[in-house]
Amino acid sequence: MRLVYDGQPIEFEGGDTVALAAIRNGQHPARGGTLCLAGDCGNCVATIDGTSWVRTCQTLALPGVIVARHPDGVNPTMLGPDTAADIDVRHLSVDVAVVGAGASGVAAAAEQRTAGHDVTVYDAGQGSEVVGTFAGPSLIVRTATGIDHVHAHSVVLATGAAELHPVCPGNMLRGIYTQGAADAIAAAGIDLGTTVTVSTDVARFEAAEDRPGAVAVVVLRDGTRHECDAVIVAAGSAPRDLLARMVPNVRVTIVGPAAAAHDLPPAPTGGVICPCSKTTVEDLQGVWDKGFNELELVKRASLCGTGTCQGSVCGPHLQAWVGERKGERPLPFTGRPAARQITLGEAAAGYHIDTFRRTPLHDEHIALGARLDKFGGWSRPWNYGDPVAEYWAVREGVSIGDVSTLGKMMVSGPDVVEALERIYPNHVHDIKVGRSRYVINLSERGHVLDDGMICREDETRFLLTFTSGGASVAEMWVRDWIETWGLKVHVLDRTVSHGAINVTGPLAGQLLQRLGVDAASMPKFLQHRHLDVAGIPCHVMRLSFTGESSFELHHQIHHSRELWQALLHEGRSLGIKPHGLQTLFGLRLEKGHVIVGQDTELDSTPRRINMDWAVKLDKPRFVGRDALIRTAPLPDERRLFGFTMDGPAPLEGSVIRPTTGPAAGEVVGHVTSSWDSPLFGHAVLLGWQKRLPHSDVVEIDGREARVSAVPFYDREGARARM
């Protein structure tokens, strides 16, 4: 039988691992370093059938397998041919998990079974390799078919002990084996030639001129020299406790040699201590001299122990080296998953990125050629190909936008007014039935969390809206406060149950009339009504984010597509176009409406964003009131401003520098929103100035910008009331 090794076929015997097959053919499985052939070190890793970082000593040789040694001194790409989707993940619950099927594992399993437990044994040699332990406790197990996430009531680690490798000059030569490796090689019938067996008494290894890179002489500490073809190192062992060190504060039991007390080897004085990271003893001294005088710091600064074997080889030597300098034996460093190299696909398998929801109009947007983007946890149309045309449709005709993503919450109960008065800084009790009001939410520190509308349905029932990105947090926020106060209020988050379409533009009302809404029942600005639009029951809210006359049509989501299509069909003769977020953001910017989270910062107060008008400090109580009263007398450097400048609009995030005054030339803030206004023919911006005195003229993107009153468009608000 033959496999392909570095491009050449080599013979192997049945039962050989890839590493043994290489040794059988006079090859060294890696460029150098001691071999343990027990899976502890990373010195035999290679790329096998396209997957890099595979331990060849743990991989059975099979005909036709393609093996490529990793390039010397260069890390290969850490990718395997698989992806997470290719890998079968199982989530399993077990009673007792015993890791290791050696003598101590067998004994531990028997003991647990005698105690009445259901025992599952995991062992790499039996096809179930534990590569990580986590709190829970839980185990990540690699099997022949995929990855198992194992949740155990208890875990027993019986992982045995790992043989120590020599650390001295020349220890990266080929031809050095641990005793266990030598035994395995002998058992495979492979002759290593003349061997010398040493312990911790090695001073250095040397190569011969005719065999560069391979050990030819071992020099002991007493100065004696021994010529050889190979060296066998019997230097003792240390607990194979990497899995235990990954969960230092979690209840796992360690038994057998993995838990045994052990002596550290002599502190090394030269050579490569960490074969994985190629860290030398001289490297350790270098970082030590820079002040990294704790074991964990030496590890991080030198990378010793951060490689393939996660310290299995170098850990005891590093403990000895640091211990010698500190005068006491340090604890071993924390273990990090994975204990064995897994592919990125294996690492990612079973884990998911956040869900991005689809609105009920998702397919309609795709059919209209929308470019979709992800905002606030939703897939949303960014534009439909021509954002400027979409803009003019809103400003001069009629347009529709999908605002189904808005947070929508129904609240009802005898204490609902009291609850809302406490939650919101604006007045609530005087909102008449059928009317609505813009509101902001504040944190206890008086910082703006979110904004939206309050619509009064009847004396004890309101509909609240929130931003798309803030909806889920808002629900928790409202529920938490209502529970804290012990008020009787029912809460229903219907964000995903109700769609919403914004019909906006000077012809918006006309379009609704064409779809069956009579002029007399059309809600006026900041009114809301329950009306049928195209025969579909809608909660129609008259408000305006775009600056134009706007009607939000809230409805049950199973009607969304029908309503959308009816609006497009009936609006065709009015020149209707749908608009996406790109246009919406520009439209609202011209009106100076902030987007919470984009124009605000985590500590933005209403004063800082010029929204004191939305706060009524004459109210006796609301969340954030105490903080606002406490900070009101204090000077506040931070302020959000409107700016205008000649185009093109600078990138959002561009820095703002005053051109005059004490802070001239210094960065005092950044642009939060930026838009080339088709109407004005220049750029309009929002941005922060965070140094006093605030400047009227600043430099943005190397050009002059001037502070401007906000809103930029329709300061009287007449168009929204048309």
């Binding site: 005898p414 029932r461 049950q556 989501i557 029908e562």
Partner: protein, 140 residues
């Protein structure tokens, strides 16, 4: 990844938010299947709008969920491959949590079968992740 070959269907019903005591005493219609999401919250699949003794109760049509009926075998497959948490020990029961990373509910029946409930807005993602077929349609 092995597929969970089920098909989601749109569900129609009622969402009822009320005092727990009021929900406890509702006489549900024979063709209604109530799912008690929390003490004050029920999703009722099918049937007419229920009457409640709580004058402030919120009773509203609910079309925000899709569902998939699972046989015991399909549930076992789903639990093994896509659910990181343990199912309740005694059934019937309602279990709620992430399935394949998507918030979901499982109505577990005494015979070992189950109904999987997911928000319509997120079910495409779940269908993609578990290999199921998403619901079609969307108009009335």
């Amino acid at each position: 990844m092995l597929a969970c070959e089920v098909t989601f269907e749109r569900l129609a019903g009622w969402r009822v938010i009320a005092e727990p005591s009021a929900l406890d005493t509702v006489a549900w219609a024979p063709d209604a299947t109530p799912v008690r999401i929390s003490p004050d919250d029920a999703f009722v699949i099918g049937g007419p709008a229920p009457g409640l003794s709580d004058p402030h109760a919120i009773v509203t049509p609910e079309h925000g969920f899709v569902g998939a009926a699972l046989t015991a075998t399909e549930l076992d497959h789903l639990a093994t491959h896509h659910i990181e948490w343990s199912l309740p020990a005694t059934w019937p029961a309602l279990a709620q949590g992430q399935i394949a990373g998507v918030p979901a509910k499982l109505v577990l029946h005494a015979d070992g079968s189950a109904q999987l409930l997911v928000a319509t807005a997120a079910h495409h993602e779940m269908a993609d992740r578990i290999g199921a077929t998403p619901a079609t349609g969307g108009t009335r």
